[in-house]
Each structure stands twice: as structure tokens, then as C-alpha cells.
């Protein structure tokens, strides 16, 4: 049985814009899939559908339509790391990480001491251990991204959806996030992330889906998909794929 599959998925916004057209993907458990494309390609829409936030009957997890899963059940299977979080109140890092335990709580419950241990561990894993009582409003952009990942780790889900995880980060923080996500992938998490950065996609992913104008231009193992011709078509600009010191570079 396929772990996660998308079968001829089309989506049209109420305004009439076709965001996705007959997209078919099959994602293996434990893989790391990059959804690569330029702005407006339909990446975020696809991520919303994979999250279940935008309803669709074309996505199947363990062979069962995503729409048939209960809300909490789905929360235990799929976690989201948004591009940006809305921090209107000065929660502590521990408070925010504990939010990740919500799918495990009873309808009117609040986190237990066991949940707090999981949250402490998640914060330590992303390198924010010791700062549990710090306010989220005092974090830098890179630290905020780490915190979002910590909350998703505390959620203990099988799948991690990440929306442009490094789009607004400097090179040092980009590297930090990349290392952390590689570690999570090595530990068996299934990563599905959107990005318009082809080099980041190549570094982190095992498979790449190329999305252009809502259509799938190519999908497969990254070595098979990342070709100069395909990327040039994807971005409507000349791109070259080359190897320097054993590393694939796209420029």
C-alpha cells in the first residue's frame, strides 16, 4: 500500500483560478520530497491540501482518503511548519512547543508533565534547550524557525509539511535548519517541503516534484529530475546543473 498518494488532483479557487491541474504523486514513507516551483506555481495550495486544510478527495494516506480522518487523528499523523507564525502574545518557548501536544490531549485537557518532558526534549533537539522560559517575541528569525520545528517535533507526527522553511533566513541559519531537517529525515520522518530554492531542494530531498502553473512538470528521484532543461523550463530562465567537488550545484 502506498504511504501517501495524490491521484489526479485538480483544484480551482472560488475566484475561478486553476491552482492545480491533474497532479498525481506517490510518496514513500521516510522519503524527503521537495515541491519545487516559482511563485504562483501552486506549491502552497498543494501543501494546504496535503494538510487537509483545503478539502480534497484525491489525497490518500495509508490508502484512506485524508478527508475521512478525524481532526486529532490527522494532527497525530501530519505536522505543519508554516512559513511564518503569528505571535501576538508573549508565549514562552515552552508554551509554544507544548501546543504541539494538542492532538494528544482530551477535548478539554491541558498538557501533562509527560507532555512537558517531550517539549523540553524537542527544544533541546533544535538547539533551544535552556531557553524554555524565554519569550517568543525575543527570538530572531532563525530561532523562530527552529521553534516552529520544535513544536512540530513535539507533535510526534510521521509527516512533516514545511512551507518554504528557509525563505527568509541568512546563510548561517539556512545551514542550521538544513542540518536539523536532514537529521529528522535520517531518523525516519517523512518530509514534504515547498521551496523555490533549487539548491536547497537538492540538498535536503530524496525526491523532487517540479510544479509549474499548477501542473506537474516532473517527479522522481532528485538525480533523475534535476536536469538543466527541466529547471530552465520550470523557471523560464537558463539554469545549469553542474557538479563541483562531488556536490551538485544549480545556478
Amino acid at each position: 500500500m502506498t504511504f501517501l498518494s495524490i491521484d489526479r488532483l485538480s483544484y480551482r479557487y472560488p475566484a475561478g483560478i486553476n491552482a492545480l491541474r491533474s497532479v498525481t504523486l506517490s510518496i514513500e514513507k521516510g522519503s524527503s520530497v521537495a515541491i519545487l516551483g516559482s511563485n504562483g506555481a501552486g506549491k502552497s495550495t498543494l501543501l494546504d491540501i496535503l494538510l487537509g486544510y483545503t478539502s480534497s478527495t484525491s489525497v490518500f494516506l495509508y490508502g484512506k482518503p485524508l478527508s475521512e480522518y478525524g481532526r486529532k487523528e490527522l494532527g497525530r499523523l501530519i505536522a505543519l511548519v508554516p512559513q511564518k507564525e503569528q505571535f501576538s502574545f508573549a508565549y514562552t518557548l515552552l508554551d509554544y512547543t507544548l501546543f504541539g501536544r494538542a492532538p494528544y490531549l482530551s477535548p478539554m485537557g491541558s498538557p501533562t508533565s509527560t507532555d512537558s518532558l517531550i517539549a523540553y526534549e524537542a527544544l533541546a533537539k533544535v538547539g533551544l534547550g535552556g531557553f524554555e522560559n524565554r519569550s517568543i517575541t525575543a527570538l530572531s528569525g532563525g530561532e523562530q524557525q527552529l521553534l516552529l520545528i520544535a513544536r512540530a517535533i513535539a507533535q510526534e507526527s510521521e509527516i512533516l509539511l514545511l512551507d518554504e522553511p528557509t525563505s527568509s533566513l541568512d546563510p548561517a541559519n539556512r545551514k542550521r535548519i538544513l542540518t536539523l531537517l536532514k537529521q529528522l529525515h535520517a531518523e525516519g520522518k517523512t518530509l514534504i517541503f515547498t521551496t523555490h530554492d533549487a539548491n536547497f531542494a537538492y540538498e535536503l530531498s530524496s525526491d523532487i516534484a517540479l510544479l509549474k502553473g499548477g501542473m506537474l512538470l516532473g517527479y522522481g528521484k532528485k538525480e533523475e529530475v534535476v536536469k538543466s532543461e527541466l529547471l530552465t523550463t520550470l523557471y523560464d530562465t537558463q539554469l545549469t546543473v553542474t557538479e563541483i567537488d562531488g556536490r551538485t550545484i544549480i545556478y
Binding site: 490527522l74 505543519l80 501546543f99
Partner: protein
């Protein structure tokens, strides 16, 4: 026991201390009034004077109970509104509720009856209509997200009711009706009697229970909607349910107390400053602080001068002072 559990226990103890203080202050305020003379009524008098006993049981006790319940409701609904709208400057009268209730009260006073019950029912009905119109208008707006549309609709509905209220005040009989309207808009607990407050207490108890048991969910509704969805919530449905609980509770409260400003704005701020932003302890803290604040203002208002000072004036005065102090304090930098 890890640090989280220690903090949790410390916050719980602090909450219990606050509850005990509110109850003690509530009991003390039963002995404060203007019978037989302004100030503290000696305990012995209640054994010997039947009038004093009647005043204690039929006037002061329901009034103190109403102050505690109304303060808790305003504190809880202010906290809830701020989290649901992800905005620490929102207060319960945000969706046309307060202005709707004021319009309803004025309408009844001028055109029908000045009886307390009639004014309360009219205020309640128009307060709820304010919410209904705000929600209805927000579904018709073609601008911004759902929350922004609701806020803008609330502003528009408040403005409609305000102008309607202005017209009513223009035609009101100046020596009687206009004074009644003005007093209602300044708020007061002098209408409190067991008959008038028992139905209100039942509604407040239900609303507070709904908000209290969902306090962890409230946190999740203050962040990115997609994140809260990914955490197993149904954000739209749960937001509406909590919004209705907070609004109905507030409307029923102000129908009997008149307009009481600032409680719902400042007590959540003080609660968050004392207990942290996470709602598990900050929400009950906001409720208790609301109770304490309203009781304090009411006791002050009914004893300090020969004539009673409307409670709304005192909550505005003290509330604004506290608000300025909170926002000016160094430790508030970068916090909400």
C-alpha cells in the same frame, strides 16, 4: 518534579490565594454601606436590627455576588476576545454589542417602559442583535480575511447604533428619560436583586464554564489558523463557539449592569503580566482579577461619597490609570 510542574504548582497556589482574597474582600464589602451611617456596619447590628439584616441579604449580598460574577465574565470575555482576534487591545464591546445594548436600553427607556426588567431585556436583545448584524455584515464584505471583516463589521454596526442612540437622546425627555439613559450608560450595580440576577448568573456560569474548559484551545486559536488546524482543531467552528459564549455572557451581564468599560481590557493584561500569556492559568486569573476589580470599584463607589458614583466612571478612571502604568512599564517592552 521538573520546572514546568513547579511553575504550574506555583501558579495554581497563586490563583487559590487570589480566589481567597476575592472571597474575603467580598465578605468584607457586605459590611460596607450607608446604613445606619456611611462606612462599616458593625456585625452585632445584624443580630439586633432586622432592617440591617434585610439590607444585607436582599441588597448587599446580591450586589456583591453580581459584582463578582460580572467582573469574572468581563475579565474572561476580554481575555477570550483578545486571543480570538489575536489582538491584545480588543475588548468585549467590540462587535457592536455594547452600543447595541445601549441603544436597546435607551429605546426602552424613552418609548416603552423604564422598569429595570424591560430595560434589561431590551439591552440584551439589541446587544445580541449587534453581534448578529456584525456577523451577517462580515459575510457580505468582500475585503480582507474573516477576522478583519468581522472587526470592520463590528465598527460599522457600533456606529449605526451610536447614531441611533444619539437620535433617541435628542428626543428623550431631558429631566427624566435622558437622565435614566445617562445613568445606564455609566453602569451600576444598584439594580441587583435576587430576582434580577439569578437568570443572569445562570447564563454567566454556563459561559464561564465553556471558556474555562476550552482555555488551552484558546491559545491555539491565537496563532496562525493553518497551524491550529494542523494541531487537530477545527479553528472556524471552535472560534465561533467561544465567540458566542463570550458575547452572550457579556450581553447578559451588561443588560443588568449597564455599560462597564475597561474591565475586559485591563484585567487580561494584568493576568498575562502576572501568570504569563498561556491561557491555562491566565484566563482564570483574568476572571478573578475582573471580579476583584469590579468589587473594589463598586464598594468604593457606594461608600466614598454621600451619593453613589456610577461604577462605569470608576472602572474607566482606574482602568485607564492601570492601563497607562502597564504600557509604560519597562518590563512590558515587546510583550503583549
Amino acid at each position: 518534579m521538573n520546572e514546568y510542574e513547579i511553575q504550574k504548582r506555583y501558579k495554581m497556589i497563586t490563583l487559590l490565594v487570589l480566589i481567597a482574597l476575592s472571597v474575603i474582600f467580598g465578605i468584607l464589602s457586605l459590611f460596607v454601606g450607608r446604613y445606619p451611617k456611611a462606612g462599616f456596619t458593625p456585625l452585632s447590628l445584624f443580630y439586633t436590627d432586622s432592617v440591617a439584616r434585610t439590607i444585607l441579604i436582599k441588597i448587599r449580598l446580591p450586589r456583591v455576588v453580581l459584582a463578582l460574577a460580572a467582573g469574572a465574565m468581563l475579565g474572561a470575555s476580554g481575555f477570550t476576545f483578545q486571543l480570538l482576534f489575536s489582538n491584545p487591545l480588543v475588548e468585549p464591546g467590540f462587535l457592536g454589542i455594547s452600543q447595541g445594548a445601549a441603544f436597546g436600553a435607551a429605546l426602552m427607556i424613552v418609548f416603552a417602559s423604564t422598569s429595570s426588567l424591560a430595560v434589561q431585556i431590551s439591552a440584551m436583545v439589541f446587544g445580541l442583535l449587534g453581534l448578529f448584524f456584525s456577523y451577517f455584515l462580515s459575510t457580505r464584505f468582500r475585503f480582507g480575511g474573516a477576522l478583519l471583516r468581522l472587526v470592520l463589521a463590528g465598527i460599522a454596526v457600533s456606529a449605526f447604533f451610536s447614531s441611533g442612540l444619539g437620535v433617541i437622546k435628542l428626543v428623550a425627555e431631558p429631566t427624566k428619560d435622558l437622565q435614566d439613559i445617562t445613568f445606564w450608560m455609566m453602569g451600576g450595580l444598584w439594580n441587583a436583586s435576587w430576582v434580577s440576577i439569578i437568570p443572569i448568573l445562570a447564563v454567566i456560569a454556563i459561559a464561564l464554564t465553556i471558556l474555562y474548559v476550552n482555555r488551552f484551545t484558546l491559545n491555539l486559536l491565537s496563532i496562525n489558523e493553518k497551524t491550529s488546524f494542523s494541531l487537530g482543531l477545527n479553528p472556524k467552528r471552535q472560534r465561533i463557539m467561544l465567540l458566542i459564549a463570550a458575547t452572550v455572557g457579556t450581553t447578559f451581564t451588561i443588560s443588568v449592569t449597564g455599560l462597564i468599560g475597561w474591565v475586559g481590557l485591563i484585567t487580561p493584561h494584568i493576568a498575562r503580566k502576572t501568570f504569563g500569556s498561556e491561557a491555562t492559568h491566565a484566563l482564570p486569573a483574568s476572571m478573578i482579577m475582573g471580579s476583584f476589580f469590579l468589587l473594589l470599584c463598586d464598594s468604593f463607589g457606594r461608600t466614598i461619597l454621600p451619593t453613589e458614583i456610577p461604577i462605569g466612571l470608576l472602572t474607566s478612571l482606574f482602568g485607564a490609570l492601570i492601563f497607562v502604568i502597564i504600557l509604560s512599564s519597562k518590563s512590558q517592552e515587546g510583550k503583549a
